[in-house]
């Protein structure tokens, strides 16, 4: 409805739209945007998808590469722990079966056994013999624990039940983290006793230290209740509760991603011990372990961004070039249209100009007659004071009218070049007349125009106005090419069956490239100016008139355009 109202209000709007469209630069802007968007989408979407896939693929590969060694390390370390514990347990077990109760109960003997043990295996702190009632019968070690009763302690119950026992780390009486390895032995006579050794947890620390982890990484032992068995850097001291929940139980070394209580993204590698209530854990912050990944990711990102930039620039460049081409093509079409228009128009405007020039002749004729009459009157009259002066003025007016007539003549001359006619003509006169049009400009610019016409030049049958246009073009081009004070030489010579005319200038000359295209329509060296139709029109006319046109030019030296015209007309013209 509104549209209709608008239309009624501005009935010419549609028309206006049409007009605007022909020259609208927005259309190109829009087109340019669309093309760029399309090109960018067509290239960037696959590129982005590839980049994203690559990113994740790469990230996973990198993660695996980091997780695997960690898993292996955890496994190895777990084995070390197991080996350590198994060794210690079997040592204690061996001693228990190799010696009799009496021998072990002998203070001296036990001391000697213990010293051998300590020498052979690191980590033993003390060794004690406990009877079936839980009383420590004999003891070798740094503390005085002889006679102490362990009957109501958990480890004692367990060793009685299972025969072997490896304790969690605990402080015990000695307020020092340690692990107990206890073995129960039964003699043939049914007596049972327990050999109990305490291990220094320093050995645990050493095993962990042997993992030689980076400073920000962490490895520690935790028991089934989540109590720290060794000190960790970040997650609590010995026997403190570990600051994150235990991962699901598995004996296989496993790596999980998690956020630790410090808020860091970490890899947690862990494994439960099958024979002891321990979990070995190694924590490695992802940031440090993925340092290489980050550099790789940086590279990837850089390549992606660079790629995008290249795509954008290329898209813009290509589009610009494309649009420019389109614009040029459209401009040319427009130009061609206008040229066609223009040729029709020129005839009417030429006619108008001729009309005005003719009009001007009327007052001139009257002035001429009136002045002539005044001269007649003066001539008839006898002498009087002002006569001579008046006569001089009258003569001056008559001369002025004569000059004016020359001008209108010239104007009518070039208005006349719109008429088409084939006539028998004197080429040198035509060249002289045409050169006359430019005499003023040449004089102004102090350009020396030499007309070298062979007096024997034959008359030719051709189109006067078309030839006039040809020479006007050639002279105009030559004038445009020369610097102020330059030279233009026009030479006309008879040829076997025609005439050869050359227009030589000592102007700027043309490059080879320009020479190649000089006769093409729309070619112009005057950027932004001129229609470029000059020489192609000239070429067209000369060809139509059955002649030839050629150009020679040296840059910086000058240009010579030579045309040959036949004496008579060929049928082509008819």
């Amino acid at each position: 409805m509104r549209k209709l109202a608008d239309l009624l209000k501005h009935p010419l709007r549609e028309l206006q739209g049409e007009v605007d469209e022909a020259v609208s630069p927005e259309r190109y802007t829009l087109l340019r945007r669309k093309i760029i968007a399309l090109m960018v989408a067509a290239t960037l979407i696959p590129l982005s998808v590839m980049a994203v896939l690559n990113y994740y693929e790469h990230q996973n590969a990198m993660a695996r590469e980091i997780q695997n060694p960690l898993r292996v390390l955890v496994n190895k370390t777990k084995n070390s722990f197991e080996l350590f514990l198994a060794e210690r347990t079997s040592t204690v077990s061996l001693i228990a079966s190799a010696y009799t109760y009496q021998e072990l109960a002998d203070q001296q003997k036990l001391a000697r056994i213990f010293s051998v043990m300590k020498r052979e295996f690191e980590g033993f702190v003390d060794l004690g013999l406990i009877d079936e009632h839980g009383t420590q019968v004999n003891y070798v070690g740094p503390y005085t624990l002889q006679g102490k009763n362990y009957a109501d302690q958990r480890w004692f119950q367990e060793v009685r039940l299972k025969g072997k026992y490896v304790s969690d780390v605990f402080m015990g009486f000695r307020k020092f983290p340690h692990v107990i390895v206890a073995v129960q032995h039964m003699t043939e006579d049914g007596r049972t006793w327990i050999l109990r050794a305490t291990l220094d947890t320093k050995q645990f620390e050493r095993i962990i230290a042997s993992m030689s982890l980076e400073p920000d990484a962490d490895a520690f032992l935790v028991n089934g209740q989540g109590l720290m068995q060794t000190s960790s850097n970040n997650y609590g001291k010995v026997l403190e509760k570990v600051s994150f929940p235990l991962p699901p139980m598995t004996y296989e070394p496993t790596v999980v991603n998690m956020t630790d209580p410090l808020g860091r993204e970490v890899f947690l590698a862990y494994a439960y011990f099958p024979d002891a209530d321990f979990v070995l854990m190694a924590v490695k912050p992802r940031s440090s372990s993925l340092k290489t990944w980050y550099t790789v990711r940086g590279d990837l990102l850089f390549i992606f961004v660079a790629g995008v930039a290249v795509v954008l620039i290329a898209a813009m460049r290509v589009t610009d070039a494309l649009i420019r081409r389109m614009k040029e093509a459209e401009d040319r079409r427009e130009l061609a249209l206008r040229e066609v228009e223009h040729s029709q128009k020129l005839s009417s405007i030429g006619r108008l100009a001729a009309g005005v020039a003719h009009e001007v002749n009327n007052p001139l004729a009257i002035i001429n007659e009136k002045t002539g009459l005044m001269k007649d009157i003066l001539d008839m009259q006898g002498d009087f004071p002002a006569k001579a002066k008046l006569l001089a003025q009258v003569e001056s007016v008559l001369r002025a009218v004569e000059r004016c007539r020359g001008i209108t003549h010239r104007m009518l001359g070039f208005a006349r070049r719109m008429d088409v006619s084939i006539e028998d003509l004197d080429l040198s006169e035509l060249i002289r007349e045409t050169a006359g049009f430019l005499a003023n400009e040449a004089m102004h610019r102090k350009v020396d125009v030499q007309l070298d016409m062979d007096p024997e030049l034959p008359r030719i049958v051709s189109d006067r106005s078309q030839l006039q246009q040809v020479f006007l073009n050639l002279f105009n081009n030559a004038l445009a090419a020369v610097a102020d004070g330059g030279n233009i030489t026009v030479t006309a010579r008879p040829e076997s069956d025609g005439v050869r005319v050359s227009v030589a200038d000592n102007g700027c000359g043309m490059s080879e490239e320009t020479l190649k295209h000089i006769f093409e329509p729309f070619f112009t060296t005057k950027k932004g100016k001129g229609t470029g139709l000059g020489l192609s029109i000239t070429y067209g006319i000369i060809k139509r008139l059955g002649g030839e046109i050629s150009v020679e030019s040296t840059q910086g030296v000058g240009t010579t355009l030579t045309i040959t015209l036949p004496k008579g007309q060929r049928e082509a013209l008819a």
């Binding site: 209000k9 501005h10 009935p11 010419l12 028309l15 206006q16 049409e18 007009v19 020259v23 249209l337 228009e341 223009h342 029709q344 128009k345 020129l346 009417s348 405007i349 030429g350 108008l352 100009a353 005005v356 020039a357 009009e359 001007v360 007052p363 001139l364 009257i366 002035i367 009136k370 002045t371 005044m374 009157i377 003066l378 008839m380 009259q381 002498d383 009087f384 004071p385 002002a386 002066k389 008046l390 003025q393 009258v394 001056s396 007016v397 002025a400 000059r403 004016c404 001008i407 209108t408 104007m411 070039f414 003023n440 400009e441 246009q469 006007l472 105009n476 001129g530 229609t531 139709l533």
Partner: protein, 208 residues
């Protein structure tokens, strides 16, 4: 357009020269009057001579006016950034056509409209189109008729209206189709005038 511009340059140079010459004739005329005033005793035909000088002066003015018109034509192919002033172009065109019209005994009048109306067309293109319309009209109108060209504003656009009794017959004619075609090529529109009378040429507005 280069040719037209070039021709325009030549014409402009020529009209300039012509105006100079006409000015010298004017001066000569003035000088002769002075000479007659101070040294005219004994000149029997002084009155006749003086009459001649008057005619001289009149004709010089006429020549001046014409060469100004010609000068406008000479500059008509040039593009002006603000666009061609429609009234000015029409005044010049009607000046050029008045004699043509008189020869066909048609009284051509220009009803100049609002001044300052502009169009993106060059003056030459504008004059060419309007001239074509005038040609059509002059070819068709009976002797002794009246032809009015007016410049009007319609919806922000400059329009030219050609009106004359019996002119509506024009729209069916061959030259009219040609006019329509050419006007369209330049982005101008041709339509019937109000009440189906005459012809309206709507001109593209100047580029902002």
């Amino acid at each position: 357009m280069r040719d037209a511009l070039f021709m325009g340059r030549l014409t402009a140079g020529a009209t300039h020269e012509m105006q100079n010459i006409l000015a010298t004739i004017r001066e000569s005329g003035g000088l002769m009057e002075d000479l007659l005033a101070v040294g005219g005793e004994g000149f029997a035909h002084a009155e006749r001579f003086k009459k001649g000088l008057c005619v001289l002066a009149e004709q010089v003015e006429r020549g001046m006016a014409l060469s100004e018109q010609l000068n406008y034509c000479a500059h008509a192919p040039e593009a002006t950034p603000a666009g061609a002033e429609v009234n000015e172009a029409m005044r010049s065109l009607v000046g050029l056509y008045r004699r043509d019209a008189a020869r066909k005994r048609v009284n051509l009048v220009l009803a100049a409209g609002r001044t300052g109306l502009r169009t993106s067309l060059r003056a030459l293109e504008l004059m060419g189109r309007a001239g074509l319309a005038l040609d059509c009209a002059l070819a068709l109108l009976p002797q002794g008729s009246q032809l009015m060209l007016s410049v009007e504003e319609q919806g922000g656009l400059a329009v030219l209206r050609l009106d004359s009794p019996g002119y509506e017959a024009l729209r069916g004619q061959e030259p009219f189709a040609e006019l329509e075609r050419r006007a369209r090529a330049l982005g101008a529109g041709v339509s019937a005038g109000p009440g189906g009378q005459g012809v309206v040429l709507s001109l593209p507005k100047p580029q902002a």
